[in-house]
């Protein structure tokens, strides 16, 4: 299974009438998770979140692909390498 790059946010059992709604619900929950945290605390929350979600995905091939995409563009020298 390839990495999903199309919008994939949904909530089983819940009906959405607007296409933007599930994504916005997700994004609000994400920002809310970081509310009132220091930068360091936020970084730790992110690390834990990544670990939990990686285990949920499980497939190492997918995870490596996502990791490469996430890194690309953030570190300047990696840009040319790909």
């Amino acid at each position: 299974m390839p990495l999903k790059t199309e919008n994939n946010f949904h909530q089983p059992g819940k009906r959405f009438f607007r296409a933007y709604r599930p994504g916005d619900d997700f994004y609000e929950a994400l920002i809310e998770t970081h509310r009132d945290l220091s930068d360091e605390q936020s970084a730790r929350v992110n690390a834990r979140l990544v670990l939990l979600l990686c285990n949920q995905v499980g497939d190492l091939g997918l995870l490596r692909e996502a990791m490469a995409i996430a890194r690309k563009g953030v570190v300047a020298e990696d840009d040319d390498a790909t």
């Binding site: 790059t5 933007y20 916005d24 997700f26 994004y27 994400l30 920002i31 970081h34 992110n46 995409i69």
Partner: protein, 555 residues
């Protein structure tokens, strides 16, 4: 004063009421001749009520505020006889573009499919909208407007409302059965009654400038995050009529609003955005902070709050005037039934319930947009910028970009006025939804489905190709038309089907069938505000009567 627009002046005229010994009584008074108060007054007059509208000023909006009017707002304006000049003078647009660091990252089309009378959005200066509404009010004999009448006292008693009104000739008093409060975001009446609109301020400032220019930009909404000419902030460019363009500049919380309003500060910003070679003149500008808030309820006894007085949103999403007009749309038919003694006052509580739900949704969407545009923490900003960075290659991220979710309608699916539906329907036309339009041919030459609804309750009975109403059904439909709350009915047939004896709507392009998931036999009951309140797979007169009773709190 403005380069492209002269504010009309509406004269104050002394009313005989001002000389009366006792306060004169009016059944219905509306306070505030903004877009929402005028929509309420026009609708009430069209529904046969005697209306008095009071406004403390003598002209329309000075300087433009609202710019974008949604399809639903225009559909309502169409019913009120105001949409035509709006669409003619306004700029029709469908496409929005989002840029991040000068690169296009997302583009959306608001009305990707054909088969609607009204465009997705038009842009028009608020003063034009108000001017057209004033003109429409002149046509209505049962609507009286009193300019320079400022309500300064109110007593919201259980049996009637008393008002004290200041005019150039001094103060006078009036009483009324029902008061519609449309006196804007700072609502003096709300204050006087000790009621509150609660919510949050956003810690950011925005310079809003209208400039006149002949420019080759298309009539699209261009929202830019972190553009090279305004680093670290966002901007918006949008066309209005008369070659006036709306520009927004995010300034940040620390900006000095008085300084930023000065032309010597504004003009370099505009020049940086538009390019050195573009000639322009500054028409109007102002610096705003925005807030989202609402009243707990919109009905307090005989006082009914609508528009900005009841709720306020940040303008990303254009949900202010657009939603206020929908308040009025929801309220007036209910108020008319109550005033005519055909429904209990409880029906007015459903106005509050339904529009509070809609306001919640508008506030939610506006708040989310504002949070995306103005991230509150370092981590929020990193997430925001990461979304924008991923947009180019990854479609999912485009969906998360939030530069304003433009005004749409609430689905009132939890409303008590709805009747439970047959479970096998698909599609969005659920009880509580606003009707989708469709090209049709109606019995009186109507070309659009929405033109057949909006007066009384309406029942659409879909027959498809098959045709043929039974004698019994025809008699039942006839009886519904004569009920104390009349139901007008149409049979809907596919193009080319045999004509019916009953008032017939021809589904010209099959879009009624598609949009309403209609099969032969399907019936749809529509409220006077063009919201569905029930649908069935087959006609049953008792079910229709029960659904009407439910939708009017007569059940």
């Amino acid at each position: 004063m403005f380069l492209t627009y002269d504010n009309p002046v509406y004269d104050y005229a002394r009313s005989p009421d001002q000389s009366a010994a006792e306060p004169v009584h009016h059944p219905l008074i509306v306070v505030g001749a903004g877009p929402v108060g005028m929509a309420a007054a026009i609708d009430a007059a069209q529904r046969g009520l005697q209306v008095l509208l009071l406004d403390d000023d003598n002209t329309v909006s000075v300087g433009s505020r609202a710019v974008c009017y949604s399809k639903r707002c225009l559909e309502i304006m169409d019913r009120l006889g105001c949409a035509e000049p709006m669409i003619e003078q306004g700029v029709t647009w469908n496409v929005g573009k989002v840029f991040f660091r000068d690169e296009l990252v997302n583009q959306f089309d608001l009305l990707p499919e054909a088969g609607h009378k009204i465009p997705a959005f038009i842009n028009l200066q608020q003063y034009y909208l108000e001017e057209y509404m004033v003109r429409r009010m002149d046509d209505l004999d049962n609507l009286e407007v009193r300019w320079r009448n400022r309500v300064v006292e109110i007593d919201n008693a259980p049996e009637r409302v008393m008002l004290g009104i200041d005019t150039p000739d001094g103060r006078y008093r009036l009483s009324c059965d029902w008061l519609i409060v449309a006196d804007g975001a700072n609502s003096p009446i709300r204050e006087q009654l000790g009621l509150e609109s609660r919510g949050q301020w956003f810690q950011d400032r925005f310079l809003i400038a209208d400039v006149v220019m002949k420019a080759g930009f298309p009539p699209e909404r261009w929202f830019s995050f972190d553009p090279s000419y305004h680093r670290g902030q966002s901007t918006l460019l949008h066309r209005q009529s008369d070659d006036v363009w709306r520009l927004d500049f995010q300034l940040g919380w620390d900006a000095d609003p008085e300084e930023e309003k000065k032309p010597e500060r504004v003009i370099p910003r505009v020049r940086a955005m538009l390019g050195e070679e573009t000639e322009f003149e500054l028409e109007w500008c102002s610096v705003y902070t925005f807030r989202c808030r609402r009243m707990e309820r919109f009905r307090y006894g005989r006082a009914l709050f609508v528009g900005d007085a009841a709720h306020q949103v940040s303008p990303f999403g254009a949900r202010g005037a657009n939603s206020g007009v929908q308040d009025s749309d929801n309220l007036i038919w209910k108020l008319a039934l109550v005033m005519q003694g055909r429904a209990p006052q409880r029906l007015l509580d459903s106005y509050s319930d339904e529009r509070v739900q809609a306001a919640e949704e508008n506030i939610l969407n506006s708040t989310r947009s504002t949070d995306f545009i103005t991230p509150k923490s370092t981590m929020s900003r990193i997430f925001r910028d990461s979304v924008l960075e991923l947009c180019r290659d990854f479609p999912f991220a485009r969906q998360l970009v939030n530069s304003g979710r433009l005004s749409d309608t609430a689905f009132l699916i939890d409303s008590e006025l709805n009747t439970a539906e047959d479970p096998d329907f698909c599609g969005d036309m659920v009880p509580g939804a606003v009707m989708l339009d469709a090209p049709i041919e109606g019995p009186d030459g109507e070309r659009w489905l929405l033109d057949t609804a909006g007066g009384p309750f309406v029942l659409y009975c879909y027959l498809g190709e098959s045709g043929g109403l039974s004698q019994q059904t025809r008699a039942a439909l006839h009886a519904l038309a004569g009920a104390s709350i009349p139901v007008q009915s149409f049979v809907v047939v596919a193009a080319g089907a045999a004509a019916e004896e009953h008032a017939t709507v021809i589904d010209r392009e099959g879009l009624f069938a598609a949009r309403y998931d209609a099969r032969p036999g399907s019936c749809y009951l529509v409220r006077p505000d063009q919201h569905l309140c029930a649908r069935w797979r087959s006609f049953d007169a008792h079910s229709v009567a029960a659904a009407v009773a439910r939708a009017t709190c007569n059940g």
